[in-house]
Amino acid sequence: MASAPRSETQSVIPALASERPVIWPPRVYKTLSNGLEIVLVESHTIPKFTGELFFRSGNAVTVASAPGLADITAAVVRTGTTARASRQIEEDLRRMGADLSSGAGADNSVISFAGLVDFADGLLALVSELAREASFPNDEFERERRQMLEGLRIERTTPGFLAGERLRRVLFGQHPYGTVSPTEAQVTAYRVEQLSDFYKNHYRPGNALLVMVGDFAPREMLAQIEKAFGAWPSGPVEEAPNPPLPGLQGRRVYLVHLPGAVQAQILVGNRAITRRHPDWLRLTLANSIYGGAFNSRLVMNIREQKGYTYSPRSGAHPLRQHGYFSVGAAVRNDVVAATLTEVFYEIDRMRSTPVGEEELADARSYVTGVFSLGLATQDGLAGQLATTTLEKLPEDFLETYRDRVLKLTAADVLDAAQKYFDSAHAQIVIVGDRAQIESQAALFGALEVYDAQGNRI
């Protein structure tokens, strides 16, 4: 086989060229007189636009009365208005080449939509109708309720869900963030009036943010938005309650028994901070070095060296009132103890030894680079702008992000690890078949065992 001569350069890694600056797309901010906040961004890659209409009220508001109420409210919102029945809504969306979905998290409810710019008027009118004149048909409510029940039953057989649910309960206790899903009995007890009350009280323009990215001229789009949403009357909105958090002393282990599991889902965590906290970027950088990137210490250790797991990752998870840090890995049953040993070894190394200059520089490049990549897709850009506005971050949060990350030092990383990777009081959740993993789990702290329904056994 003939082979071409190799040139000298082929064994040398090409250097980085000089960086081109991030180009910020033109943005328009506006608040209508009824309080609706609007962020518009031009992006002309395709003749479409995407939008999200957020309400700053999610499931956290209703945990005390009816957990999951924001979820089912959002689901039923899209099934009927005073002017359109469910089938009409779905057919109108198709006719406009549009997609629409609605949902809720702990802190927000949202109607997401995307469509062809030719039909922008029609789609905005429909979104406005869903936000203002949802009619909560009883038959649609009952159908959604049953689907939600069946969905819950399946979730309770999913290791990742069970691990996340238990960790949130442990970290946040009776605070609304401690409940991520309702029980079947709670869903069965929903009344349709509870949905329409939540809707009346929280789907308000003064509680809302509309973010749109796409192929439009912002000034003209603003006029269209005013037409669709301007006459929407404002109204007061109650805040989410913020009860005290449980005290967490020492490592504890929570085993969720899933009979027949052929793998153990490990999730270790502790409470941390929100995006508004001055340490947020320090924590972001420390997390990327610990386990937040492919090239991170944890992934190198338990995946690339030891082969315990496919997808180990750590993450800093910000909610509106509080945040938490977690480390997750799905591992084979016989290496549960070995994995936890490495998880804590790497945490303790982050907490005790300053990171070296090269690793620090690599991590700063990673965090700033990925930030730029996220601004280069419509979804990513819309997400960044929405978060900045929803969480009331400083106006220059995005513009200064890269510079602030590039200034962080090894001392900043050490400080963040010591504060937010809480090795001594880490809470350890393991979902798996009890007989396969219990003795390993018990090595790491006082053990409590639960079934998949959340009952102590």
């Binding site: 086989m1 395709i46 689907q147 069946e150 082969g307 797991t309 680079g369 979804d379």
Partner: protein, 428 residues
Amino acid sequence: MPLPNGLRVVISADRTAPVATVGVYYNIGFRIEPRGRSGFAHLFEHMMFQGSANAGKMVHIKLINSSGGVLNGSTHYDVTNYYESVPSNALERVLWLEADRMRALKVDDENLRNQRDVVKEEVRVNVLNQPYGGFPWLDLPPIAYRNWANAHNFYGDFDDLDAATLDDVQKFFQTYYAPSNAVLLILGDIDPDEGFRLAERHFASIPSGPQPKPASIEEPPQLEERRGEVEEKFGTLPGIAIGYQAPRRLTPEWHAAAMLDHALHGGRAGRVYRRLVLEQQIAVDAEGGIHYPVGDLFDYNGPTLMVTRILHKPEYSVEQTITAYDQVIDEMKEKGITSAELEPIKVKFRSNYFSALEGGHGAYIPRYGLMHLLACFTLFDDDPRLVNTILGGFMEVTPKAVQSVAQKLLTHHNRSIVIRRPVKKGAA
């Protein structure tokens, strides 16, 4: 335009953001892997991250992450891809890395043992330890197909993964990873002339290799309905998946089948969801598509199915559910579709296509969707420009063509059904 060694190069410039996405697609997927080595194409994909001539284990990942980029790879039916998104100042570094591993893989037994363990945990986390894991993408092929290439376990039997050797790895690399069996794509912040110059600098000296012999992936004609059952270990609802043999790509029948598919499976306005979930409320979920759920209309190059996946309420029997589904199918065959239904479907189809072009695979791989289409059109059809013209054929489909293709495809002897039966009783 191909380099002398046969590597095709496709560039799509868009300089609005200072980021670039690079992909290398090889014309080999999990359909064609050696017998007795199920799951090998995917295991091999992992090995491509384990070291090459001048970039040892972890160097590849470290160089991309530390340049501010992200990377991954994925194995499909007929292609395997490797891709990176980076700030554009790191573009040449990415090309150097991709060229290095196209030139020579440098891996050892320890790497293979390590990635075999990683892949087994991947299979557990995605299939064996999940409710409805692999349903129906791993369940339907063994029932629907007779040719091992189409019918085997694409993620791999653990015995087969254990049997894989380093020799297998090098042989697979020699057979399928020659430059002439690949396409290099550069998208985003790049001047096209500069892109071709860089491609030539880093890839032109890679020796050409023999083209792999075309493998037989043809299926004998199906003459009877095929059925099978798989146990559902975790989930509480019965699942049913129905797959009809789909037409070949780029034929008029394929265009019509795409519109038929959209009429049936186009979200909540589609006939299957509307009837089974919203109106009759037999099912709690029903969705589907051509080459669903691990691919789409464009990224296959051999036999595939138009699939419907249903989870139904336990108080209905499997047969009752299939009967209700068959009513939807029979209505389409008997009464066809009106222009009033078809024209909005075309609008939505066009809109979906634009979104596919823009899609960033989650938001951090700018231009992933465009890259994927360009790669498939290049490797399968030798014509990346199809990306600009492909919509035309779909827009010309008539109601009559939809009905004809429905009558031809949606027959019992052209379909396979798998039941996913829960071990546990649901509530009710």
